[in-house]
């Protein structure tokens, strides 16, 4: 977790990304579902940045947007730059699977009828793919026979290693891990996270999308807190400590305080639905610091103590 490895220019920059879906209501009324709004984040080589948000809040869409594999009825705006170049559908098509790799959530992302080895290999386009695949399997302690197995024959831990190995096999510079540790045994979680950290230490940029604050804290350099479709704070992992005095946003603080090992103070209310977002600050309905201006407008992100925050009253 050395800060020195973190280079200055981000490998991936996401600026004001918004994703919405059109929904037809009864009659001819149309409604726009704002799944992600004005999300900004940057990912640097050599670091792990975690996007932390509750499950089912549309975080995966961020991954899909970066990879360019959103469903066709998604409307997308904002800017994404990879290695200084604008991401276009064309460049995304050539980058995914080569420069940008995805570590998916579960075994259901593997073709159930294809042997595991074959699913790892296509990611590699040069060199002797079988040899590289074996090497990678060995590195992840997957027995030689594993490549001949079908996904359903893998144990939970093996499946995890296979999924990570697919990303490792690509030589990708940006690895996006989308909820890679759902409901797993603690040792498997630890191992998977260690693999991701390893990739970052080797110089990759790792974007970890998760709802698990412990997982995020374990390996991330920075943590982007995701709320109602946007990042409300980007903090250093080390900011999550003590009485949360280093955290900038009321929601992040509440999140931290709600943990059992801290003060165990639950946060009242729930996240707004994407079809009923509040007009002002997205957190306003639940915020204790809420004031007049919070109701009127959404706070823009601003830099504060080495992080970013979207709150009028953060100090």
């Amino acid at each position: 977790m050395t800060e020195t490895q973190t280079s200055i220019m981000p490998l991936l920059e996401v600026c004001n990304l918004s994703i919405s879906f059109t929904q037809y209501m009864e009659g001819l009324r149309q409604k726009s579902l704002q799944a992600i709004s004005n999300l900004s984040i940057d990912v640097r080589a050599g670091e792990v940045i975690a996007v932390l948000g509750s499950s089912g809040s549309g975080k995966s869409l961020l991954a899909h947007a970066i990879l360019g594999i959103l469903p066709s009825n998604a409307m997308i705006s904002g800017k994404m730059r990879y290695a200084g170049e604008n991401l276009t559908p064309e460049s995304q098509a050539s980058l995914r699977g080569r420069e940008i790799a995805l570590v998916p959530q579960s075994i259901s992302f593997l073709d159930p009828l294809m042997r595991v080895g074959e699913q790892v290999r296509p990611s590699m386009r040069n060199g002797n793919s079988s040899a590289i695949q074996r090497e990678i399997f060995a590195r992840y302690h997957l027995a030689a026979g594993t490549e001949r197995l079908f996904p359903f024959q893998l144990s939970g831990g093996m499946a995890r290693r296979v999924l990570v190995s697919i990303a490792a096999a690509t030589n990708a510079r940006l690895v996006i891990a989308d909820e890679p540790t759902p409901g797993l045994h603690p040792t498997v979680v630890k191992e998977t996270l260690a693999h991701l950290r390893e990739l970052a230490d080797e110089g990759d940029a790792v974007l970890l999308i998760t709802h698990d604050i412990a997982a995020a804290l374990e390996i991330a350099n920075r943590i982007a807190v995701f709320y109602a479709g946007t990042t409300i704070e980007i903090a250093l992992a080390s900011d999550f400590s003590g009485e949360a005095e280093l955290l900038r946003h009321p929601y992040s603080k509440a999140l931290w305080q709600a943990l059992p090992q801290n003060n165990f103070i639950p946060l009242q209310g729930s996240q707004p639905y994407p079809d009923a977002l509040p007009p002002g600050c997205l957190f306003e309905p639940r915020c204790q610091l809420s004031s007049h201006e919070c109701k009127a407008a959404q706070p823009e992100p601003r830099h504060l103590r080495g992080g970013t925050v979207r709150c009028f009253h953060a100090a």
Partner: protein, 329 residues
């Protein structure tokens, strides 16, 4: 696997016995007098005494139970009795007719499979586009089309208007059966086979399309796309692999419809197959032949279902390698 086969065979046996017994029972209560079938056109020349003698000859004067016992014992020896209208052993009639039907059904089975699959794949790959809608519309229309009417249209266009094929009659009139050449046979096969193929396309195409749409919406295809796969390569690696088995299974499991279709097609085109024999046996009261065909068609359907299940068990690794997972490495 052996256990599986044994279980299946046992099930087949119970079903066959039940089908047979039920059919026999039902047939014996039919108001249609089987003697008439035998007598046929000579009806007026046959007096009541002769009628009774014929009935006695066939054992028709006995109570149903006795007839059934006698008949089933014979069946167990492989003797299905004598067809009344063909005046030949039922087994002989069935095997001869079935070969003709098989040629017809097999052709239609293959063609409808290939074209239906292709259409389904095209529609599924272009889901939501006009191509997809057109194919779907076409298939749904086909599914509502009476197959014998389609046969009539075929006859109308290709036989009456264009004159490419003869109107009716499985073999040219006045030619002895064994003098019929292969070309003749083929000539008579084309229209019924075409009709059956077209009708069969609908279900295969719709099934294929739905499977492909499901597969394309799956997580593993999303992930494959995230790995940079797309287009034909993606279809080849993940699409085909995952839709082939369900579609082949459907083909085998739908032999019942194919058989029904061939009954109608054979009737329209006067094709001398098993279906036509079934219709004649039914219309003219040839009970032994009808029974034989019922049993045979049940066997036929069962074979298809069994083949479908066997294929799944042999090909699908999730079934084939059940219990053979990582622990055994």
């Amino acid at each position: 696997m052996l256990l599986f086969l044994a279980g299946k065979t046992l099930r087949l046996l119970t079903l066959l016995v039940a089908v047979t017994a039920l059919s026999f029972l039902l047939l014996s209560y039919s108001p249609i007098d089987p003697v008439r079938a035998y007598v046929g056109a000579d009806m007026l020349k046959v007096g009541p005494e002769q009628w009774a003698r014929i009935a006695e000859h066939w054992g028709l004067d006995r109570p149903p139970l006795e007839r059934f016992t006698r008949w089933s014992l014979a069946v167990l020896r492989g003797d299905l009795g004598i067809s009344m209208i063909f005046r030949r052993p039922v087994l002989e009639v069935i095997s001869e007719r079935f070969l003709a039907s098989l040629a017809l059904m097999l052709t239609a089975w293959i063609f409808s499979g290939v074209f239906g699959f292709a259409l389904g794949v095209i529609a599924g790959m272009r889901q939501g586009t006009w191509t997809d809608r057109l194919i779907k519309w076409f298939c749904l229309m086909l599914a509502s089309t009476p197959s014998f009417w389609l046969g009539l249209l075929m006859l109308m266009v290709f036989a009456v208007w264009l004159g490419w094929f003869p109107v009716g009659l499985g073999v040219p009139a006045g030619v002895l059966a064994h003098e019929v050449t292969l070309a003749d046979r083929l000539n008579h096969l084309i229209l019924p086979a075409l009709t059956l193929s077209i009708i069969g396309v609908a279900s295969v195409a719709l099934h294929t399309r739905q499977k492909l749409v499901d597969v394309l919406a799956s997580n593993y295809v999303l992930f494959a796309r995230a790995k940079g796969e797309s287009g034909l390569r993606l279809f080849w690696r993940h699409g085909l692999r995952n839709i082939a088995l369900p579609v082949i299974t459907l083909k085998f499991a739908s032999l019942s419809e194919l058989f029904g279709g061939s009954v109608l097609a054979e009737q329209v085109f006067s094709y001398p197959g098993l279906g036509q024999a079934a219709v004649q046996a039914g219309l003219r009261g040839d009970v032994p032949l009808l029974l034989g065909i019922i049993i045979f068609s049940a066997l036929f359907v069962f074979t298809g279902n069994l083949a479908a299940e066997l294929l799944c068990n042999l090909i699908d690794p999730r079934l084939r390698l059940k219990g053979n997972s990582f622990e055994k490495l």
